[in-house]
């Protein structure tokens, strides 16, 4: 097999962190190579170096035998490399055609040859089975359609090597199938693909060869045939990490929070259309679903940052107020989806972020003045109890790693203050393990299970099916603003969950019961 791509000895440091440590790999023609690894293993960095977003500290890259000039996406594009980014590189306000032809014509050219471009785009779309409307505004497309545009961008430029960065993270199982079919077509046409993922089952299906990264190094390289998921997990993780187990058979208690036909306003992907849900003590209800089906609205409703426009919502028998301070006082622990943009104020120090939700309570507030010593003491308690590592209480929150920041947020939400009278009633966790390495994931899951065991109700919203099935006592699925009934975990299979995520079987929706 001829090597179309060769990476030799790639090393890249960010400060003290070695993201890529002397990595070498090759890619053959017509081959799908899977690049596996946990979050933080160095996969995205490596691909960013390949595509020219970063420059490696040492090492070199050869594409079709020619050396690739580093640090320039233009050079990578010219060499035939195309990248489908995890967070799509598209401009919402411009049309599909605009997004595709950007950079394909010389900047000094007087006229943009749109008619020829449109025809060429349609031809490419036909050839690879990716239909699109060239004049549609990208902002109005669905996630699956946007990914198609991303892929077409690369194919339009004649890419022979395609890099896909976690492409199925935002797709339903059915949309993922469609993507795999496209990949097969690409390979049949002679393209080579690098498929980055941390989802073992998919990778075993789609790839010919596998490369596993851990801690910035290549730890394993094997053909797919003959490799098991267990072996892959072993390579990826490297050390035995016990995932905390949820004890089955814990009996649920009284209703803590009840939502009845709740509606809320928002954009297409961001509203609730008649959601009903019961959250009971000592129980984890996991809400599955592809991101962008209203999960943010549901989470914000229970975190107090979004109003409902219709329907009833109660907490401990009393109406639920859209006010974070009231919710925190009533015993609600909240973990938001975006820890950097919403969970913490990056420029402020760790200790201020640790007490930011509770500055109204007399423990930390005397007539409008902050009780600094008491606040710092509580912050220190959080740091110790939840193992938050970083530069200390006065370091900025921005300087903490993702895992440590998440632990800080959890501690802030869960650790009772010195004068606490209200017990923990409800934990709302939205994508709590996104982007974390395996150790941090285990820590977070442990806290979630512990909260349940102490009697709290837990709402876990996650687009990770494995996590949902591992942690949920009951599971519901969110689709286009509607919630299915929250059935016991045993009543679901992966297939039925996948179908519900895609919207089939909307008949079993939450208006019915539960």
């Amino acid at each position: 097999m001829t090597a179309v791509l060769q990476l030799q000895g790639i090393t890249k440091r960010f400060g003290a962190l070695v993201a890529n440590d002397d990595i070498s790999l090759t890619l053959g023609a017509g081959e799908v190579l899977a690049l596996l690894g946990e979050n933080g293993a160095g996969k995205s960095t490596l691909m960013s170096i390949l595509f020219g977003h970063y420059t490696a500290d040492s090492g070199d890259i050869r594409v079709f035998g020619q050396a690739l000039p580093p640090g320039q996406p233009r050079a990578a594009l010219a060499a035939g490399i195309g990248m489908v980014h995890q967070h799509f590189a598209l401009a919402d306000n411009l049309s599909v055609l605009d997004n595709v032809i950007l950079g394909t014509e010389p900047l000094w050219q007087l006229f943009s040859r749109r008619r020829t471009a449109r025809a060429r785009l349609q031809a490419v779309a036909q050839r690879f089975g990716l239909p699109v409307d060239a004049d549609a505004r990208v902002g109005s497309l669905s996630v699956g359609e946007r990914q198609r545009v991303e892929i077409l961008k690369a194919l339009y430029r004649g890419a022979r090597i395609l890099i896909l960065d976690e492409p199925t993270a935002v797709l339903t199982p059915q949309e993922s199938e469609s993507l795999f079919a496209t990949l097969a077509l690409l390979v049949a046409e002679g393209l080579s693909v690098i498929f980055i993922s941390h989802k073992l089952a998919e990778v075993l299906r789609v790839a010919h060869r596998l490369v596993v990264l851990r801690g910035g190094k290549v730890v394993a390289e094997a053909p797919t045939a003959g490799t098991t998921a267990a072996q892959l997990a072993d390579w990826m993780v490297g050390r035995p990490v016990s995932m905390p187990q949820r004890a089955v058979g814990v009996k649920a208690g009284d209703t803590v929070c009840r939502l009845e036909s709740v509606h809320s306003e928002g954009g297409l992907r961001d509203r609730l259309r008649g959601v009903s849900l019961n959250l009971a003590a000592s129980e984890i209800v996991a809400v599955a679903g592809v991101s962008g089906n209203g999960q943010v609205a549901l989470a914000e409703l229970l975190c107090g940052t979004r109003r409902r426009t219709d329907g009833n919502a109660t907490l401990a028998g009393r109406p639920l107020h859209a006010d974070p301070a009231t919710l925190v006082r009533s015993g609600v622990a909240r973990v938001p989806e975006d820890r950097h943009a919403v969970g913490a104020v990056g420029d402020l120090p760790v200790w201020e972020n640790a007490v930011s939700e509770r500055l109204g309570s007399p423990a930390f507030n005397r007539l409008g003045w902050i009780r600094r010593r008491a606040a710092r003491r509580h912050a220190q308690a959080i740091v110790e109890a939840f193992d938050v590592r970083g530069g200390g209480l006065d370091a900025t929150a921005r300087s903490l790693s993702g895992g440590n920041l998440q632990k800080l947020i959890l501690g802030r939400a869960l650790l009772p203050t010195p004068d606490a009278t209200v017990p923990l009633r409800l934990l709302v966790a939205h994508q709590p393990t996104w982007g974390l390495d395996i150790g941090a994931v285990a820590a977070v899951r442990r806290e979630i299970i512990a909260a349940r065991n102490t009697g709290a109700a837990v709402l876990l919203i996650s687009d990770d099916l494995d996590e949902v099935m591992a942690l949920g006592d009951r599971i519901a699925v969110m689709h286009e603003g509607r919630l299915t009934a929250a059935l016991p975990a045993a009543a679901w299979t992966r297939e039925t969950l996948g179908l519900a995520m895609a919207g089939a079987g909307d008949a079993a929706d939450s208006e019915a019961s539960s």
């Binding site: 400060g15 940052t305 974070p324 120090p349 201020e352």
Partner: protein, 354 residues
């Protein structure tokens, strides 16, 4: 060479950076001085002497610094919340106008209240005038998303025209021989002299006191935290339960009130009445001062004294050496940009490739 974010805020780095900026500014203005054909060294010496070389110079500098402290504090507190109040100039005049309206000798007598009531009433009127002036743009920003920079700027022009109209009409001093100036304040309302035989008045004490109070609030009060959180990341602040709109409104009123008070203090302490040329751009200079001070209330006092010294020194230097006094504005503007660049040093660390 690469820039890497620092993990904790370092006051030493900030101070060193500010100093570096000042030095750069002086170098740049040296070029202008040479272009004017004047000897650089002597010019700077005259500048320093004019601003800081004698008790009289200091008194002039400190007098000039008083309104700058007020507008500097106004800008500092607003910018902390990312509310870019560029309207301090208008708020200053509005405050001065309100002060004269309450405390002025209209038709020969004015309001017949005891001084202990009239004096705070005058200050309150000035503060409210400034506060409400900024409230409009602030609400337009938080409700409608209208950029407050342009609205506050445009309001400056509107306010000044309004003041001009009032000075030509109802508020005009009939004894001023046709010159558009307001009626004078009642006698008991003027701020006493701080230093005899100088223009320095007690307004300085008030200004410094306010700076101290503001610093304490920003550092130790719940409101201070709310302001800093909203300015740094309003989404995260809202999530944590900070009342964002209410905080912005409070900040707007506080900032406007500070600028308005500055106007009242100028009238009560320095001039005794209001004219259109009372402020040579104090509102805008206040913004520069706030940036030089890295938005720190105590730093504002230092930066105001420095800037006032340059402005006063440039006046006297200009008379002696012939370099146009406009050089003072060049110095002020250059130091703003230099401090901005230098602020990178406090946020980022330079890493040389190993």
């Amino acid at each position: 060479m690469r820039l890497e974010r620092r993990t904790r805020n370092s006051p030493l780095a900030i101070a060193a950076a500010s100093l570096g900026a000042v030095v750069f500014t002086l170098l740049v203005s040296a070029v202008l001085v040479t272009a004017a054909g004047a000897p650089v060294g002597r010019t700077y010496v005259l500048l320093l002497q004019g601003g800081f070389g004698s008790v009289f110079a200091w008194s002039e500098t400190l007098t000039r610094a008083v309104p700058l402290i007020f507008t500097g504090l106004a800008a500092a507190v607003a910018f902390r919340a990312r509310l870019f109040n560029i309207g301090a100039e208008g708020q200053l005049y509005a405050g001065a106008l309100a002060a004269v309206a309450v405390g002025g000798m209209h038709d020969g007598s004015g309001l017949d209240w005891p001084i202990w009531l009239l004096f705070p009433a005058m200050l309150l009127a000035a503060a409210l005038a400034g506060a409400f002036l900024l409230l409009g743009p602030a609400l337009m920003k938080s409700r409608l998303g209208v950029d407050e920079v342009v609205t506050t700027l445009l309001l400056n022009f509107i306010v000044l025209l309004g003041v001009s109209a009032l000075l030509d009409g109802p508020m005009k001093d009939p004894t001023a021989m046709g010159w558009p100036q307001s009626v004078a304040l009642q006698d008991g309302l003027s701020l006493g002299q701080l230093l005899p035989q100088t223009r320095l008045h007690n307004g300085l004490l008030g200004a410094c006191g306010l700076a101290l109070a503001l610093w304490l609030v920003m550092k130790h009060a719940r409101l201070g935290f709310d302001i800093r959180a909203v300015g740094a990341n309003s989404r995260a602040a809202a999530f944590a339960g900070v009342p964002v709109t209410r905080t912005i409104v409070l900040v707007a009123m506080l900032s406007g009130a500070l600028a308005g008070l500055g106007g009242a203090v100028e009238v009560a302490g320095r001039t005794g009445y209001l004219t259109l040329d009372m402020s040579p751009g104090y509102g805008y200079t206040g913004i520069v001062i706030a940036m030089l001070a890295a938005l720190h209330p105590l730093g504002v006092v230092a930066a105001a004294v420095f800037t006032a010294g340059v402005l006063v020194g440039a006046d006297s230097m200009s008379r002696a050496v012939g370099v146009p006094s406009a050089i003072a504005d060049v110095i002020v503007a250059t130091s703003l940009l230099a401090v901005l660049v230098a602020s990178l040093a406090s946020q980022y660390r330079v890493r040389w490739k190993a």
